[in-house]
């Protein structure tokens, strides 16, 4: 499979700082987006620190890994502890928090985990499926099966119920298989709140390279208001190229 990934972040039209951060590590096949929680100090520090620690702890994982989902979750938990420790050590970082959505590619399987309201989507066979559940008040209510009116719901969507750096930071993980033709999107809520899902799907399906997709989506989000920082990573799983097939054929024969 030919895997191309591209990430891009933009401050948006309204914010003063960009509290988002993203990580694309092709060697370790790790992709992650972190959205620093505004309203808390050092949101922008939290996001990059989280990603930094995530990579660090992932590299420390000993192979072979028997349960990738469990392992990935534990990596995230350890990152969380690191954040909390750092927050204690430096007073101006106190209380910093960030969301996280991360994807870890192992052969043909993708381990996805999230904490907070940054999302992972998968576009496959002309359908876009949200892989992660948002950890915000809106969803928590729905999970409890409560029925709320639209006005009441409106105020709840951006209250995050879980975040790294807080007490409530339990990551939710899953593992899915990857097929040729799949496209993965990791993004912060700055994208999904500005651009309709159908439009996102259209852009992802109609572009041939992830760079093009990222560029278009960020432009669209900004055109529609850009009220938050916009960050996304697109990973395209395409048919292997001729040279790839040839090299594979040659190496497997040996």
């Amino acid at each position: 499979m030919k895997i191309t990934a591209y990430g891009q972040t933009d401050i948006g039209q309204c914010r003063q700082i960009n509290e988002d951060c993203f990580l694309v590590d092709s060697r370790n096949e790790l992709f992650a987006v972190a959205d620093g929680v505004g309203g808390q100090p050092a949101g922008e520090i939290a996001s990059w620190f989280a990603l930094d620690q995530l990579l660090h702890y992932l590299l420390e994982l000993l192979e072979p890994v028997s349960d990738p989902v469990q392992a990935f979750n534990s990596v995230i938990k350890r990152s969380n502890l690191a954040i909390m420790r750092a927050a204690v050590e430096k007073p101006h970082w106190h209380g910093m928090a960030t969301t996280l959505v991360a994807a870890w590619l192992r052969d043909q399987m993708l381990v996805i985990a999230n904490v907070g309201d940054s999302r992972a989507y998968l576009v496959r066979d002309q359908k876009m499926v949200q892989l992660t559940e948002d950890h915000n008040l809106h969803n928590e209510q729905q999970r409890l099966g409560l029925n709320l009116s639209e006005q009441e719901l409106a105020g709840l969507s951006n209250v995050v119920t879980r975040a790294l750096g807080t007490d409530s930071s339990e990551p939710e993980g899953q593992i899915i298989d990857v097929q040729v033709g799949d496209r993965l999107l990791l993004c912060s809520d700055g994208l999904t709140s500005m651009v309709d899902d159908t439009i996102i799907q259209t852009v992802i399906q109609s572009t041939t390279s992830p760079q093009e997709g990222c560029r278009m989506l960020i432009d669209l989000a900004n055109r529609n208001g850009g009220r938050d920082n916009i960050t996304l990573i697109l990973v395209y799983f395409d048919k292997p190229t001729l040279t790839q097939k040839l090299t594979e054929a040659l190496t497997t024969r040996r």
Partner: protein, 812 residues
């Protein structure tokens, strides 16, 4: 223009020219050969041609014809030419004009008859003698035969009769003297690539010769091909096979005669041997003649020859060809024949070796692989440079080999390949670059589409190239959007437009599907009233069997329309549920519940309950047709300014209780009693709506903010997610009553959590503290209805109604 898109679709089509060219080269398709011949004619100049010292042409040209007389001439004149050549000590004479029959000489026969009719008298002796002299003078054949006999070597042409190819047996049957020694003339059959099988005859047996008899016996013949490609440089040294015989061509025969009449003559593989000379030839013993050669032949006019104006040295010891040169075709034939003789005698032949195909194919494949696989991945300049370099190399090899060895390899296939594939690659690059130009337009269009301005988005996309698959994808999604808004005719327009760029997913089926929905076009107001301009619907919008008159507003789960049942001319309200708003996994489940609840609610028939008439589904809308109530909801009366009088409240509440009682008896729980669901009709009648519908939506996690019930009116057990029964409706009724009486809700909260806590645990401000001057019974009833414990409420709604009426009665 679909083929243009195919061209852009990758390496597959880049391989196609290769295959075509290989096939053409293999079968030596005439067009390819013709193109190649052009190259040869121009490049043959590179090969230096040895002087044609041994050949000359005597042409019967326009000047000769003018001087001597119109052609065909009497044979006496031909004889003169032969004699003149003989006088010049020419080595071989070849006469091209055909002498198939003895001369038709009416003058001679007249003279002979005259002589025979003369009486045998002495006075006529002188006349007889002069007649005899005249006969001798005019007997062309005799002169010619004499001249031929005197000539050292003479070659006559063998023109093929029509019979030859079609019925070789017939031709051979008449021939005699086939007895020739096998060993001398046997052709070597060893080489597989040379399919020459049969007998090579150096001389032509009688019966086949195309010259008349006595003459034929005196000379040898050479084959003249019925040369279709008169202007091609190819010439075969042997005739085509007739039966199992081959004949040498005229030119070959002349060469042989030149080198020695009975000299050793054999052909092996592609090697020709005469006397001590040998030549390599190409496939089927063909060689290539250069225009230079033809131009360098010395040509003499026949008239000049017979009048002695030609020097002896110029003709001495040569092979001379006598032929017509008046017209282009004849002239060409003559010169070509002579040129072959010159080539043979000078030893510098050019030919295409029989193994040329292998070399050419190898080169073709090399270029093919280079251009199809490697070139696209290279930088434009580097690639072009390399290509130019390789082409130049091949060109140099071809020219070099031609110039030095006389070997010719067809450059045409390779050049055509380079041209074709180069063009395709160029087009592909151009095509690709144009695709990126549209990105801005695409972006703008998508942005407009996201804001709901679908028409403007479509307009923008139309400026992009529809042949680009990514544009088609975007258009397809736009079409889906139109469908969602039920603007089917516009969706069809979009799909039809995108199909111009070629097949795409199921666009075609969609068009058929959409065109089949008869007249159902509802103009969408979608999620908040944003409509993207009014399109034209089909004739009359309908939903199921109901005509849609107008939109009434937004309901809990979709738009509500005013409709009309044409069959019984009754006004109905149509509540719709957009199936697309539901998550795909849940669609079946939601639909099932929708219909089950419709069935349950549909079975309720009570004056205080809005009757459900019908439920159904069309395309992506599920709908429910119900009694149309022209009135207002109680929501308006829930504010302090609009409070109803207490007696009214009691009356209304009682009627609601009646409705609930009836419903509970039929095992239907409303679950969503709230002021918005209670209608007041003109005249004060109370109608409860939205029975059981709230339950349908609660399990789907929709995103577009469809309303799922209102927690402010929920009972504690509902809030806790426990199982509910009719008494839950009582609680809700209690909340409604509280609100109607005070203008304030009993349970409030800053956020959901607080609200839920309030409902389930907290004490509400009792009614008597808010509304001071109500009858005592009212306080009791409301308190009981709002009891948090289910058991604390009334046993049934009927009791509630009764209590309310009693209280009302006591008021008066």
């Amino acid at each position: 223009m679909r083929w243009l898109r195919l061209l852009a679709s990758g390496s597959f089509l880049r391989f196609l020219p290769v295959l075509i060219l290989l096939t053409l080269a293999l079968i030596q398709h005439p067009t390819l050969v013709h193109f190649d011949d052009w190259f040869y004619s121009n490049l043959s100049r590179m090969r230096s041609v040895a002087a044609s010292g041994s050949v000359a042409v005597v042409g019967i040209d326009a000047a000769s014809v003018q001087q001597i007389g119109p052609w065909p001439w009497p044979r006496t004149y031909l004889a003169e030419g032969v004699k003149a050549l003989q006088a010049n000590e020419v080595r071989v004479i070849g006469l091209l004009p055909s002498l198939a029959t003895p001369e038709w000489n009416p003058g001679l026969t007249g003279l002979q008859r005259l002589r025979s009719e003369l009486p045998e008298k002495k006075e006529f002796a002188a006349v007889r003698a002069s007649l005899e002299a005249m006969e001798i003078a005019t007997d062309g054949d005799r002169h010619l035969q004499e001249a031929v006999k005197a000539a050292e070597a003479f070659v006559l042409p063998l023109y093929p009769a029509v019979d030859w190819v079609n019925q070789p047996q017939k031709v051979l049957a008449g021939a005699v003297d086939w007895k020739v020694s096998k060993r001398s003339w046997q052709v070597d059959l060893a080489a597989l690539h040379n399919p020459l099988r049969g007998w090579l005859l150096p001389s032509v047996p009688r019966g086949i010769a195309s010259s008349y008899e006595p003459l034929a016996a005196m000379t040898v013949h050479g084959f003249i091909a019925a040369d279709a490609a008169l202007f091609s440089p190819h010439s075969s040294l042997l005739s085509p096979r007739i039966g199992d015989r081959y004949f040498p061509s005229f030119s070959l025969q002349m060469a042989r005669q030149f080198l020695g009449k009975d000299s050793h003559f054999s052909i092996t593989e592609n090697r020709l041997e005469i006397a001590d000379r040998s030549w390599m030839t190409g496939e089927s013993f063909s060689i290539l003649i250069s225009p230079d050669r033809m131009a360098s032949l010395p040509i003499f006019s026949y008239a000049e020859l017979v009048t002695g104006k030609v020097d002896v040295e110029q003709l001495q010891g040569r092979a001379v060809v006598i032929g017509l040169t008046t017209h282009v075709a004849e002239s060409r034939a003559t010169l070509k024949t002579a040129a072959v003789v010159a080539d043979l005698l000078s030893g510098t032949l050019s030919y295409r070796p029989h193994w040329a195909f292998l070399v050419e194919s190898a080169v073709l494949l090399f270029f093919a692989i280079f251009m199809v696989l490697i070139l696209p991945r290279l930088d434009l300049w580097l690639g072009s440079l390399l290509l130019l370099f390789f082409t130049a190399c091949w060109g140099a090899v071809v020219i070099g080999l031609l110039a030095t060895q006389g070997l010719w390899f067809q450059p045409a296939p390779v050049l055509i390949l380079i041209g074709l594939v180069g063009l395709i690659l160029f087009l592909q690059r151009v095509f690709k670059s144009r695709a990126t130009d549209y990105e801005d337009l695409k972006l703008l269009g998508l942005s407009l589409q996201g804001q709901g301005m679908l028409d403007m988005a479509f307009d923008k996309f139309m400026h992009c190239s529809v042949h680009d698959p990514s544009v088609q994808e975007i258009l397809y999604n736009l079409g889906l959007d139109f469908e969602r808004k039920r603007m089917f005719s516009k969706a069809v327009t979009v799909y039809q437009y995108l199909l111009k760029g070629g097949k795409f997913k199921d666009a075609k089926q969609k068009i058929v599907e959409l065109e089949n929905i008869e007249g159902t076009v509802l103009l969408g107001s979608f999620g908040g009233g944003k409509s993207s301009g009014l399109g034209q619907g089909r004739t009359k919008p309908t939903l199921g069997r109901y005509e849609v008159v107008r939109e009434l507003g937004q309901g809990a789960m979709g738009t509500v329309y005013l409709g009309r049942d044409p069959k019984i001319n009754r006004e109905v309200a149509i509540k719709t549920l957009n199936i697309r708003d539901v998550e795909p996994q849940q669609v079946e489940e939601v639909k099932r519940r929708f219909y089950r609840e419709a069935e349950a609610a549909g079975g309720l028939n009570h004056p205080n309950i809005v009757t459900i008439y019908d439920a159904g589904e069309e395309h992506d809308l599920a709908y429910m047709a119900m009694e149309y109530i022209d009135g207002k909801t109680l929501a308006l009366n829930c504010v302090k300014e609009n409070l109803l009088p207490t007696s009214e409240v009691l009356r209304i509440a009682a009627e609601i209780a009646d409705a609930l009682a009836y419903a509970h008896d039929n095992n239907v729980i409303h679950r969503d009693i709230k002021p918005a669901n209670i209608m007041l009709v003109e005249g004060g009648k109370v109608k409860v709506t939205d029975f059981g519908i709230a339950r349908v939506m609660s399990s789907s996690h929709t995103q577009t903010g469809t309303i799922l019930g209102t927690p402010s009116y929920m009972s504690p057990e509902q809030v806790a997610g426990k199982k509910v029964d009719g008494r839950s409706d009582q609680f809700s009724l209690g909340v409604v009553c509280y609100e109607l009486l005070t203008g304030v809700k009993p349970f409030v909260g800053d956020n959901i959590g607080a609200l839920m806590f309030c409902i389930s645990k907290a004490e509400y401000l009792p009614l008597n503290e808010r509304a001071k001057r109500l009858p005592k019974g009212v306080y009791e009833i409301v308190a009981k209805l709002l009891s948090k414990r289910v058991a604390g409420r009334y046993k049934s709604a009927r009791e509630v109604a009764q209590a309310l009426r009693d209280c009302s009665a006591r008021m008066r």
